[in-house]
Amino acid sequence: MQTNKNTQTSKTDRSAEKIKSFLSFKLDTELFAIPVMDVIEIVEVPPITKIPQSPEFLKGVINLRGAVLPIIDARVKFGFPSTEPTVNTCIIVLEVEINEEAIYVGALVDAVLGVFEMDENAISPSPTIGAKYKANFIKGMIKNDDNFIMLLDIDKVFSALEVDIVLEVSE
């Protein structure tokens, strides 16, 4: 698998600013972002083979150039109902760390928006009050133009366990 790293090196002084690149994507109406370094590649959605009796957020497996890749339905993970794929639906192939082991997994998302650069210091911590999702899944909030984008901790979000990301309303 080729690493699709964003190698735009900026010649600005790195000691003061920590510029990192992020990939933003859309799930239903919400916007999320993940560090580009964790993204291996982005592919179109091939036929997905569902494994019987598996949890709903595990969509199944696909054939990625001869390897078997598990697919997580990110919509389901974030509390949205599962829908039929559209022309924009795609799979982001990620490398996550589970139990100190690096595993590849594909995240099924509604659309990929783009790559943007951001100063790490400019990322605000995620608000605890009024938050929709449990705090440890969200690393921070990014304001990009008029949008609020939630930066994800992919190791926690895409772990193999069936953990609820969505906060219960009563909490």
Partner: protein, 686 residues
């Protein structure tokens, strides 16, 4: 340089392993010559390798050990328990310092010094006790022998231009020689014919060459001279002044040395080297031949390959098979003349390639057993028990990746047997059992699996104690009725230990659950069977090859599955309505009542609209169960890819495979499907 060091370390470890095996065998039988040879050879080779890399600490350390064992193998020294214990301690030390040969760690340095001193003491003690004779020092204790050569050319010897002096020179070149010339007596000077040879010689030769080589010197003159070679079985004669005086006494006379006289003279003067001669390796000795043959065998039958290369080969073979599947599919869909035959040939070849290359990753389980032997010996000694450790089926081969992961769980299980299973000597005698405890490991194939049984004849596991502990821990309800086997399964729960006393060796309840997890992670299973006072048997089941299997490609609701061929007994076609209203979930096939599993139902697919279903009867070692699918597509060689952590819970699918058209098919673990069905049925029944 790093690569070379890596090779050195690998070779060193192999040599140390072979050394350990031989030493342990010598403990049982100190007279086995081949094991002594193996010890010596391993030390010698390791010393040489270490010198080559400038690792003087190691090579010096080995030097004295090697000398000791050299004496042992020529019979000058006897193997004592002290020597063996010291050698084993030295072995352990070597295993450590192979990785840090400069002895940077002060602990290593201290141990090194201590062991070196011990070895030196052993060497000095034994050397000082062997009487050393002056003459012995002069003559090397090798296979050198003393010969008497009587060389009398016939009178016509000079006729073809031969020069006896040249032959004598050649003999002199073969070793230490003393040559005594003689002349035949001539009564009257007129009778002397100058062209005739009247000289003859007594030659005494000390050489390592054999008699045949001496004879060969005279090869061209066999017809024109009388040659007699006698071996004198006494050493040191040619240095002995009395002997030399005697033989020279007849020089320049017509009197040749009488053989009998020579032998009795030698006996009185020489040192009888009969015993020494027998001990030094004779060229025709069987053990030497055996050793040489064994070496040759070893060289011919194995090649060292880095496991990375093997892994790469496996991957390539897997991809080849996947691609070949595409080719088959293509040829089916496109009827091009000749393509089908070529595709079939490629299929046959890739199947064979698969079998051969997968055979390479299989390693006999023997390697593991050797490690256990050492551990058992040391642990048994430490806790004061005597154990007889036997193994069976050591040639059973397992995927090498699996074997490495088995060592820890097995060590734990054996330690348990040692510590908690086998009773103390006194207890055993009281129970009428033999004083020496028995621990055995048996390995064998069955179907797609390898079974390994660790058995001991100890006190067994108290079912009631386990039961009570399980209830105490809340794992079991008081009234619940479970079979012994199911109760024993609780032992694998984390923190579960019925040991009254936690010892240094085991008893904390930490090991069994880890052992089970390790084995289950490998796709295997573990179960316990035990009878009080008779013993305990632990059975471990492991999959044979991880990656490629022959299977049947089937359709269930448009999802393709692969059923491993080795589990299949027979396939039948059955009308769907027979399965629908079936109360006892039994079908009658070939006159037999066989329970069945409806996969559509099991996997929560919609009910089928078809009229017919295919029933594949599989055997899980105990029961025959029929699995119903929509259709059987074809035979298929599946390259199994693991599904990964995400699908850990869906264990009835043992992996996935990529079909020729690029879609993913799921590989069924039929045993687990059966288990699943039983679980579900019980659920419905309650």
């Amino acid at each position: 340089m790093d690569g070379m060091r890596q090779i050195y370390i690998e070779e060193a470890n192999e040599l140390l392993d072979s050394l350990e095996t031989a030493l342990l065998a010598l403990e049982e039988n100190a007279n086995d010559k081949s094991n002594i040879e193996q010890v010596f050879r391993a030390m010698h080779t390791l010393k040489g390798n270490s010198s080559m890399f400038g690792l003087t600490h190691i090579s010096d350390f080995l030097h004295n050990l090697e000398s000791i064992y050299d004496k042992v193998r020529i019979g000058e020294l006897a193997l004592s328990k002290e020597l063996l214990d010291c050698t084993l301690a030295a072995l352990d030390h070597l295993k450590i310092i192979v990785y840090s040969p400069d002895l940077e760690d002060p602990i290593n340095k201290e141990r090194h010094q201590q062991l070196s001193n011990e070895i030196q003491q052993l060497l000095d003690f034994e050397t000082n006790n062997v009487p050393v004779k002056e003459d012995l020092l002069a003559t090397k204790i090798t296979a050198s022998k003393t010969y008497h050569i009587y060389f009398e050319p016939y009178p016509n010897f000079f006729d073809d231009g031969s020069n006896p002096l040249l032959l004598l020179a050649e003999i002199a070149g073969m070793g230490k020689t003393v040559v005594v010339p003689h002349f035949k007596t001539i009564d009257f000077i007129e009778e002397f014919v100058p062209t005739e040879c009247i000289s003859f010689w007594d030659i005494y030769l000390e050489t390592t060459h054999d008699e045949q080589s001496i004879f060969d010197v005279f090869v061209f003159v066999h017809d024109s001279a009388f040659i007699n070679i006698t071996e004198i079985p006494y050493q040191g004669l040619l240095n002995n002044p009395s002997f030399l005086e005697k033989v020279h006494a007849t020089a320049s006379t017509a009197a040749k040395m009488d053989i009998q006289e020579l032998l009795s003279l030698s006996e009185s003067l020489g040192i009888n080297d009969k015993t020494l001669v027998e001990k030094s390796p004779k060229p025709n000795d069987n053990t030497v031949n055996g050793r040489i043959e064994k070496n040759k065998e070893k060289v011919a039958s194995s090649v060292r390959i880095s496991s990375d290369k093997l892994d790469e080969l496996m991957n390539l073979v897997s991809e080849l098979i996947t691609t070949q599947a595409s080719l088959s599919l293509f040829s089916e869909n496109n009827k091009i003349a000749g393509l089908e035959t070529i595709s079939e040939n490629i299929e046959k070849l890739s199947r064979r390639l698969r079998d051969v290359s997968f055979g390479m990753t299989l390693v006999p389980i023997n390697n593991m057993f050797a490690r256990f032997q050492r551990m058992i010996r040391d642990t048994a000694a430490a806790i004061g028990k005597e154990i007889n450790f036997s193994t069976m089926g050591g040639e059973t081969a397992l995927d090498k990746a699996i074997i490495e992961k088995l060592v820890d769980p097995f060590m734990h299980l054996i330690r348990n047997s040692l510590d908690h299973g086998i009773e103390t000597k006194e207890e055993r005698i009281r129970l009428g059992k033999p004083e020496v405890g028995d621990i055995s490991i048996k390995a064998y194939y069955s179907g797609v699996f390898v079974y390994i049984q660790i058995a001991d004849d100890g006190k067994g596991i108290d079912v009631e104690a386990v039961r009570n502990k399980a209830i105490e821990k809340g794992l079991l309800g008081e009234g619940q009725n479970l079979s012994d086997k199911e109760i024993f399964n609780f032992i694998f729960h984390p923190g579960f230990s019925t040991a009254k006393v936690v010892t240094d060796v085991s008893g904390r309840g930490v090991g069994m659950d880890v052992a089970k997890r390790n084995i289950v992670d490998l796709g295997g299973d573990i179960s316990i069977d035990s009878t009080t006072n008779i013993g305990t048997t632990i059975t471990i089941k492991l999959p044979l090859t991880l990656s490629i299997i022959d299977g049947l490609l089937v359709n269930v609701d448009n999802i393709k599955y692969v059923v491993p061929l080795s589990a299949i007994v027979k396939c039948y076609e059955v009308e769907n309505k027979l399965m629908k209203n079936n109360f006892n979930r039994l079908l009658i096939l070939d006159g037999e009542q066989i329970p069945f599993v409806n996969l559509r139902e099991e996997f929560d697919y919609e009910l089928s609209c078809n009229l017919l279903s295919q029933i594949i009867v599989v055997y899980d070692g105990k029961h025959k169960v029929g699995i119903s699918v929509d259709a059987i597509v074809d035979e298929y060689q599946a390259v199994i890819k693991p599904l990964g952590k995400y699908y850990k819970n869906q264990d009835f699918v043992s992996g996935a495979t990529i079909l020729g058209d690029g879609t993913v098919a799921l590989v069924l673990d039929t045993n687990k499907v059966i288990d699943l069905h039983i679980k579900n049925t019980m659920k419905y029944a309650n």
